[in-house]
Every structure is written in structure tokens, then in C-alpha cells.
Symmetry: C2
Subunit: 138 residues, 2 copies
DNA sequence: GTGGCTGCAAAACCTTTGCACACAA
DNA sequence: TTGTGTGCAAAGGTTTTGCAGCCAC
């Protein structure tokens, strides 16, 4: 229940927040503020700035993951607390999640080599999906 | 000589382009258009839009690498044609280059699993550099 | 009732673009 | 000369913010 998520982080339960969480839970793919807004307004009265503010708040609390993508837009997704990466088609923007993360070991090495305390990384693969590959050839 | 680089890509040799290339060659770290502009204008008369246009052109030609970073700004650097990644301090923005890329093998696996034609990836590590770690503790 | 949440509009921010002029080849 | 490159100013798109009113607790 999403109310509990909000309560556990000292956030008030509001229609906007619940609606946004619901949309993101249903989505298997990261979404932009605009994406989310355009869906939510159909059911709940909400402004775009509230969407941004809510997404910001939820990200700060660690409920969402916030990600600036190659197209200059910020994408949000539920933080499943599983470390994930994704593969993005540069033509149709299709997104495929990738299991596992090959970088844990590398991070250990880096810590030793650089003295950095490593707090995270961003990894995204780009390519052309099977559908688009087909379109090109035709 | 940078003139040769420009000639080899059918670009005219202009003061702006040479100045920008010179700055980026001297820099060990990726820079924003604003960064570059503020340095170049001291010597050469140039507008910010020319900076953007030039950086865009040089990136298209593969002379520069263009990278949208976490802070929402676009960073440019000389394309050394070596596949590189970097480690960024989230406090002071210090950047440390990383040798080698552990992802080649993973890309092969992904191609088989997803049918994507993989064209590239972006990988950045984040952490706190030794200097900042020290500051925090003090 | 009170402080956090929201709507609206305006601004901020980085980046791109239109058009006329300037300059490299 | 010719077409590419440039300056200036204005617009573009996404995201943030100020302020007054509203609502969850």
C-alpha cells in the first residue's frame, strides 16, 4: 500500500502523490515528468509543477530513482532497491531492463586505486532494437 | 596541428575552432560550453552561440566527445579514440579517468539475449574523492 | 489550527535557431 | 566569388520558484 510508503517517510498522503506512485508502479519503464503528468491529469486534477515537486520529493526520500537521460529529459522510476541497468534503442527509445551488474568488483578495484569512496554509478547501453533493425533493412 | 584535424573533416580553419580545440587539448577534464566560452573570449572575440555551434560540429565529426552529465549540462572533451570512463566526485566535481572498459564481453551477451545491435554505452562512476572525504571528517 | 502541499504564472536555465553579415577557400 | 561560419537577439524546451490559497493531520 502506497500510503504506508509515504507515512514511513513523513510525507503527507495526498491524491497527487498516490496517483503518481500508482502510475509508476504500473510502468515497467522509466517515465518523464511530462509523461506522468499527462496520464495523471486524466483522473486527478494536478499541475505540472506539482508533478515536478512530487517527483523531486519522492526521489529525495529514495522512493523513486531519478535519472537524466541522453535526450536531456529526466526520467523517474520506482526504486525497487535492486541494482538495475537498461538497454535503450536510439531509434524508437524502447527500453529493455538488464539483469545483474558487472561492476561491483570493478568498484572495489577503483576504491583501492583512487581512494574515492564510491557511492554509485550510471550505466546505460545504447543500440538498435530488433524491430528498428528490421525497418532499416526494408 | 589542429589545422590538419579540421582540414581532414572538410571544416574551414577559423580562429574560434582553433581556440576551442586548444583549450580542450590543454584540459584534462571535460568542459561545458560555458566553461570553454569564458576562457576563449579572453583571447578571441566569439559569441556563446558560436561556441555551441562549433562544439556541436566538432562532436558530429567525431573530433570531440559530447556528454550530458548528471547536472544537466553538456560536457565536451577531445576524442582520444580510446574507450574511456571516469569517476566523478559528487562533492567537488573532480574527475578521474579510468583505464579499460569491462563491458565488451557483457555487450556480446546482451546482443545474443536481446537481439539489439549495440552501438555504445555510457558509464560513469560517482563517489567522494579523498580530499572531500577528509573535509567531511574534519 | 498549522505547516506542509498545491495551483498558477512567471522566471530560470541551458541550448538552439533565424537572419544578415563576414570571412576562409 | 561562394558557401560556410559568425554575431546578435530571440525563441525553444525542460525544470524551478514565489506567493497565495488549500488541505491532511
Amino acid at each position: 500500500m502506497n500510503e504506508n510508503i509515504l507515512k514511513s517517510t513523513d510525507l503527507k498522503t495526498t491524491k497527487s502523490r498516490l496517483a503518481i506512485l500508482l502510475i509508476l508502479e504500473k510502468s515497467s519503464v522509466p517515465m518523464t515528468a511530462e509523461d506522468i503528468y499527462s496520464i495523471v491529469v486524466k483522473d486527478v486534477h494536478m499541475s505540472l509543477s506539482t508533478t515536478y515537486r512530487t517527483l523531486g520529493t519522492l526521489s529525495e526520500k529514495g522512493i523513486l530513482l531519478k535519472n537524466l537521460s541522453r535526450d536531456g529529459k529526466t526520467y523517474y522510476q520506482i526504486n525497487s532497491h535492486q541494482h538495475k541497468h537498461q538497454l535503450v534503442c536510439t531509434l524508437c527509445n524502447d527500453v529493455v531492463p538488464i539483469d545483474g551488474c558487472p561492476l561491483t568488483k570493478l568498484e572495489e578495484n577503483l576504491t583501492q586505486q583512487t581512494g574515492f569512496t564510491i557511492t554509485g554509478h550510471s550505466l546505460e547501453f545504447f543500440g538498435i532494437c530488433p524491430k528498428c533493425t528490421k525497418h532499416i533493412k526494408e
